[in-house]
């Protein structure tokens, strides 16, 4: 089945504003926020495998949260919603961060094994810690800013595994409730950042479609205030 959407080529469309919607943990909150400002999200909710949901004024494009800055920076999507953790990790992507949407609240933390002094021990006796993370650039910046030397080890899957079987002394990861940490005998040591969902815009769309972008921003801001 092919979805006919005007101007879906390389060029930015002149038609509806394209909004990048993150799949996964932020999906529910994103669709609720969009519902609240009068955007029809019924099609995107139905568990459909389609990626593009055309609408009258706004077309929803679903993707991995970490791809949102990529699509928005290039103007393939005009605006988008993604987590601050993604924006921090991809800080060099030139997207305009217009609004803190408040939902999807998580914290980026440094964690180590419960009751285990390996983190401090490694720092004292070996001069550096080994840190496993899915956010290597956030971790590097954080330790650099706090004057500590670390070896950052990038992993793709469950980070909690790394300190348990000796790949790393600690981890930098996102926690919502802290249950995953607890279940794996890990505990938080330091908070690095608080991350919530953010509304972002492409630089050119922000200039050339200013009315639509401003209106949507204002409506979303009202939704956050409530």
């Amino acid at each position: 089945m092919s979805v006919e959407v005007a101007g879906m080529g390389r060029a930015k469309a002149d038609g509806p504003l394209k909004l990048a919607v993150p799949r996964g943990a932020l999906l529910e909150g994103t669709l609720d926020a969009l519902d609240a400002v009068g955007i029809d999200t019924a099609a995107a909710r139905g568990g459909s495998r389609s990626l593009i949901f055309p609408g009258e004024a706004i077309t929803l494009v679903t993707m991995r949260p970490s791809d949102v800055p990529t699509y928005v920076e290039a103007g393939a999507a005009d605006v988008g919603i993604t987590g601050k953790d993604v924006l921090l990790e991809q800080a060099d992507r030139m997207v305009y961060e217009l609004l803190d949407l408040g939902f999807g609240r998580c914290r980026m933390v440094l964690a180590g094994r419960q009751g285990d002094e390996r983190l401090g021990e490694a720092e004292r006796r070996l001069g550096m810690m080994r840190i496993a993370t899915k956010y290597p650039r956030v971790a590097e910046r954080y330790f650099e800013a706090t004057g500590r030397q670390v070896e950052v080890i990038e992993v793709k899957g469950s980070v909690e595994l790394a300190p348990l079987i000796g790949l790393a002394d600690g981890i930098v990861d996102l926690v919502a409730t802290g249950r995953t940490l607890e279940e794996n005998d890990l505990e938080e040591r330091q908070e690095i950042a608080v991350c919530t969902a953010r509304f972002v815009a492409n630089r050119v769309a922000h200039k050339l479609r200013s009315k639509e972008v401003d209106e949507l921003t204002a409506k979303l801001r009202e939704g956050v205030a409530q």
Binding site: R10, A11, A74, A76, Y96, E97, L98, R203, V204, K207
Partner: protein, 341 residues
């Protein structure tokens, strides 16, 4: 040199090129050449003589023009041990050229160029490390008429490239700097606020401003100003927010806009009080170019009245540069759009 594993095994040898660079083959070259000629014809037709400068300069010379030479990706030593760098843009080399070769020339001086420049950008992001820029420099013509002339030439260049939907953003480089000084925000804090503004990180901006302790109303003024963009009505909206810095910047922008109107060149100009450019030498009017067919900025420029002074000749100046490859992409998109409709 790095070779891909296995390259030697196949009959055909594949030799890579450094990231962020590329080859241009005849079909594309033909179109780029046509675009190049069309642009230079516009520039020459308006009295801008084409110049070329060396791709390598002394690093010290580039740093004199713009302290933030972190942009030049490629630095190396020559046989005498002098530090050289590939130019990150053409404005500083032309400032050097004017100071050395045209110190006593009749003003204004009109120069144009089409040249490759080099920056340490991360590849795979619609941006190359080696890229072609086409632009003009107008030296010795102060604001507002000098700025208006440059915008007029820019519009003619966009027309010649077939980008009739392109929009030029016009902002003021001093607005936010002076506003923050007026609010008593100085030093490190001011720099990080300006950095947030340049990146348009409004969430971070509000945090930085509230930490600066200037009060809610002033925070709101800064944020609101950065979102004002549109026709001449935004100047009124800005003035309503008050303050001496805003007054001065809107007066400057108003004069430039009137000069543009008098030339019949204001229709494609969007006044944008949120505009901030990263390059360190801008003062007063700044420009950015957008086309609806492309998500990236096509080019930019503005006034740099203090730049020539750093090279010993105190002259007002303004100019712009278009990224040739991006203009070419936009041109292609606009052509296919016109064919579709």
């Amino acid at each position: 040199m790095r070779r891909f594993a296995g390259a030697a095994k196949s009959a055909k040898m594949i030799y890579p090129i450094p990231p962020g660079t590329r080859d241009v083959l005849p079909d594309e070259m033909r179109e780029l050449r046509r675009l190049h000629l069309a642009l230079i014809e516009v520039f020459e037709g308006r009295g801008y003589g084409e110049v070329a400068t060396p791709a390598i300069e002394y690093d010290e010379v580039l740093a004199r023009g713009d302290g933030r030479t972190a942009d030049s990706a490629y630095r190396f030593f020559d046989e005498r041990g002098d530090l050289l760098a590939l130019r990150p843009d053409m404005t500083v080399p032309i400032a050097r050229l004017v100071a050395t070769r045209y110190a006593n020339a009749e003003l204004p001086l009109r120069l144009c160029y089409l040249a490759n420049a080099f920056r340490a950008v991360r590849p795979q992001r619609g941006q190359m490390r080696e890229f072609a820029q086409a632009g003009v420099e107008l030296i010795g013509a102060p604001a507002p008429q000098g700025t208006a002339e440059v915008v007029e030439v820019l519009e003619a260049a966009l027309d010649a490239a077939g980008l009739d939907r392109a929009v030029i953003g016009l902002g003021d480089a001093d607005l936010h700097r002076q506003l923050l000084t007026e609010f008593g925000v100085e030093g490190e804090v001011r720099n990080s606020v300006l950095e947030r503004l340049a990146m348009h990180d409004l969430v971070g901006l509000e945090v930085e401003l509230s930490e600066a302790g200037i009060g809610e109303e002033r925070c709101a003024t800064c944020v609101a100003l950065s979102q004002l963009r549109g026709g001449s009505e935004v100047l009124e909206q800005a003035r309503a927010l008050g303050g001496a810095a805003v007054e001065r910047a809107t007066a400057r922008l108003g004069e430039t806009f009137e000069a543009l109107q008098a030339r019949g060149a204001a229709d494609r100009v969007q006044i944008d009080l949120g505009l901030l450019r990263h390059l360190g030498y801008y003062s007063g009017a700044i420009l950015e170019v957008y086309d609806p067919a492309l998500g990236y900025v096509l080019g930019g420029g503005g006034r740099y009245d203090g730049l020539l002074k750093r090279f010993g000749v105190d002259l007002p100046a303004a100019g712009f540069a278009l990224y040739l490859e991006r203009v070419h992409v936009a041109q292609m998109e606009e052509e296919s759009r016109r064919e579709d409709s």
